[in-house]
């Protein structure tokens, strides 16, 4: 069925390829059509899974010791009854037969329908009993996955680079997995412009759309789709004319990109001779290749928490040391700023824990300070790696003087310990702090007095300043880097840091947005760190900027409360 869906384009470019439906949760399953002659087999496969789970539960029940509390047996009985209920054991088979779809999908669709009914229940305790339904479904899914099922035959152009990932949402952990593949595009039903999906798509320089809402329902597995990342348009099953037009646009986009590559080795200097430092944000050591390809002058932000995701254990000191050393060596003497792990909130490795307000919870440096052993392991690995190049340590989410002092004490202790062990490290290693909490931005002196440098994390700074959850697409449109409060905070940070002669970088999404490049320059920013994919675009803007003319306009922007006038001023800056 041909149709067009509109979402929020978060990474430009055009991708044309086959849809691949995926998602991160255990219960998110792929959808595919089963050939008519195999429908009966698919239905039987589902029935066999139900039988298997019933046998498993009965076995479990038989093994319960007589001394166990009666709840145990009651609990398993309940699951057995849910399993046998027609809504789970019969209806999915009808779905398989009617829609010719795979068993997993039929079960998932039926579960969603049941859960939607549970969600309407007013009584909170009764509503939460849906957890039992989910657990039973999970068992059946597991049984299904253990059985030889119908595997969709690879289509002719099924190479990864032609696959377009269609998901409900992507977690950082998914993203790390996906990075090992070469998908043409990611599109998701949820998310905003700064969601993980968006950030990663931009870092990979592949087109991406979020907040499509119904893509997973309307797009079928292996269907031909066009992703226009700049316009936020997803075209499903396009006709030949549309396809030809988009192939032409895709070609033009590629030519533009090739032209940019020539800027790689040119220093980033404005027309009036102001040098600018353009560095790259990376997540994994392998990202250094792309950073260098795009002429990064260093790594301004190595998000070390990505080393901690997607694994049951934690990387030990030696493993971390090797990763940090590799990045430093691969950067050939250029500075590498490693942020200590910024886990917690939406990125915590433990998905089982439910946190109602993760962005304000135990995360980043707060988490580090509650588990000093893990933190010190990382600090030691960084210090050891500093012997092999120029490493800076960056502390995320500082808000108070106490956190800062505790952190600095731990670093000193780690250094002394290495001294005792005669392990070499860079004695002049610089320690900096992320400025991403408004409190830190307003009380900047706390940090400039004791730190060697600062780095502004605009994603969180904006989220906290405007009280907007950037992963919630119902409020994501309120996320505004041009809000007067945000602009004035940024100006304040840059000015205060300059006064205390503390170098300050900006490493959030704003750094890579060419619409804001000149404004930030005019506010005094001289060091940007961004996804490698943006480095050359931003450099191109800087090469064509005459800074002397922009300062008065930027100052005027700081005094302008009216959003319409603000945009007009920004346009003049970018003219």
């Amino acid at each position: 069925m041909s149709c067009t869906l509109h979402g929020t384009g978060v990474s430009g470019g055009i991708a044309i390829g086959r849809a691949h439906l995926v998602s991160h949760a255990k219960l998110e399953v792929a959808h595919y059509l089963v050939p008519l002659h195999q429908v009966a087999e698919e239905s039987a496969r589902f029935e066999a899974a139900i039988y298997q789970v019933r046998a498993e539960l009965e076995e479990l029940r038989a093994e319960i010791p007589a001394t166990a509390p009666p709840e145990f047996t009651a609990f398993i009985n309940l699951h057995l009854m849910i399993l046998s209920d027609a809504t789970l054991s019969v209806v999915p088979r009808q779905v398989i037969e009617n829609e010719q779809c795979n068993a997993e999908w039929a079960l998932r669709v039926q579960m969603d329908a049941l859960l939607a009914q549970f969600d309407e229940i007013e009584d909170e305790y009764l509503r939460e009993r849906k957890a039992d339904v989910i657990q039973v479904v999970e068992r059946v899914m597991k049984a299904l996955s253990g059985q030889p099922g119908y595997i969709p035959p690879p289509t002719r152009d099924d190479a990864e680079q032609n696959l377009i990932l269609v998901a409900r949402d992507l977690s950082p952990a998914d993203v790390v997995q996906f990075k090992q593949h070469q998908f043409a595009s990611f599109v998701t039903d949820l998310g905003g412009t700064t969601s993980h999906t968006a950030v990663v798509a931009r870092s990979l320089a592949i087109p991406s759309i979020v907040a499509l809402h119904r893509a997973r329902q309307l797009v079928r597995e292996a269907e031909l789709v066009i992703v226009d990342g700049a316009q936020g348009v997803l075209i499903v099953d396009p006709d030949d004319q549309v396809l030809a037009e988009y192939r032409r646009r895709q070609h033009e986009f590629e030519i533009g990109r090739q032209k940019l590559k020539r800027l790689r080795d040119r220093p980033a200097v404005t027309l009036d001779g102001v040098p600018v430092d353009l560095q790259a944000n990376i997540e994994l050591p392998a990202d250094v290749i792309e950073a260098r390809e795009n002429g990064a002058a260093g790594i301004g932000l190595f998000r070390s928490e990505f080393l901690f995701l997607n694994r049951p254990d934690l990387p030990d000191e030696d493993e971390q040391f090797e990763a940090y050393r590799k990045v430093t060596e691969d950067m050939g003497g250029m500075p590498v700023t490693i942020r200590t792990y910024d886990l917690g909130a939406d990125q915590h490795a433990d998905p089982g824990r439910v946190i109602t307000n993760p962005a304000l919870g135990l995360r980043a440096i707060r988490l580090c300070l509650t588990e000093p052993q893990r933190f010190v392991t990382q600090l030691r690995a960084m210090l050891r790696a500093s012997h092999y190049g120029k490493i800076n340590v960056l502390i995320p989410m500082l808000a108070t003087a106490v956190e800062l002092d505790q952190t600095l004490t731990l670093i000193e202790q780690a250094k002394r310990k290495l001294d005792d062990e005669s392990v070499p490290y860079d004695r002049n290693i610089q320690v900096g702090g992320m400025i991403e909490v408004p409190a830190a931005a307003l009380a900047l002196d706390i940090f400039t007095r004791k730190l060697d440098f600062l780095s502004i994390g605009t994603n969180d700074l904006i989220q906290y300043t405007l009280a907007i959850d950037r992963t919630d697409d119902t409020v994501a449109h309120l996320y505004d880097p041009l809000h007067p409060a945000v602009l004035n905070l940024l100006a304040h940070i840059i000015k205060s840091a300059a006064k205390s002669k503390t170098p300050v970088a900006l490493c959030g999404e704003m750094a890579g947005d060419i619409v804001l490049t000149r404004l930030l320059l005019a506010l005094g920013l001289r060091q940007y760190s961004m996804h490698s994919a943006h480095l050359l675009d931003v450099k191109q803007v800087i090469l064509g900027t005459d800074l002397s003319k922009l300062r008065p306009l930027a100052q005027k922007m700081l005094r302008t409360p009216d959003p319409v006038k603000l945009r007009a001023l920004l346009e003049r800056i970018n003219a």
């Binding site: 009854m81 229940i121 009584d123 305790y125 009764l126």
Partner: protein, 89 residues
């Protein structure tokens, strides 16, 4: 067909375990057993239906039984409600 109105008196209402008990008992009879609350009528032999009735403490439900053993079924079901589904609370 028999019809009786009962009130939910146990603390947690028709929660999962009470629902399971109700479904088990209802399934022992040949008669059809239905429960209605707020205009929603479900088969008492279906755990999912009973759970979704969302009958919290203090709400009233209407029980219907119809079939050869409808009286015994009604007696057993109303008995369950009256004894809080055998719970201690």
């Amino acid at each position: 067909m028999l019809q009786r109105e009962v009130e939910i008196i146990n603390r947690l209402g028709l929660h999962a375990r009470a629902s399971a008990r109700l479904t088990q008992v209802a399934s022992q009879f040949k008669s059809g057993v239905w429960i209605t609350r707020n205009g929603r009528r479900v088969n008492a032999k279906s755990i999912m239906g009973v759970m979704m009735l969302a009958a919290a403490k203090g709400s009233t439900v209407v029980i219907e039984t119809e079939g050869p053993d409808e009286e015994e079924a009604m007696g057993a079901i109303t008995g369950l409600f009256a004894t809080c589904f055998g719970e201690d609370d």
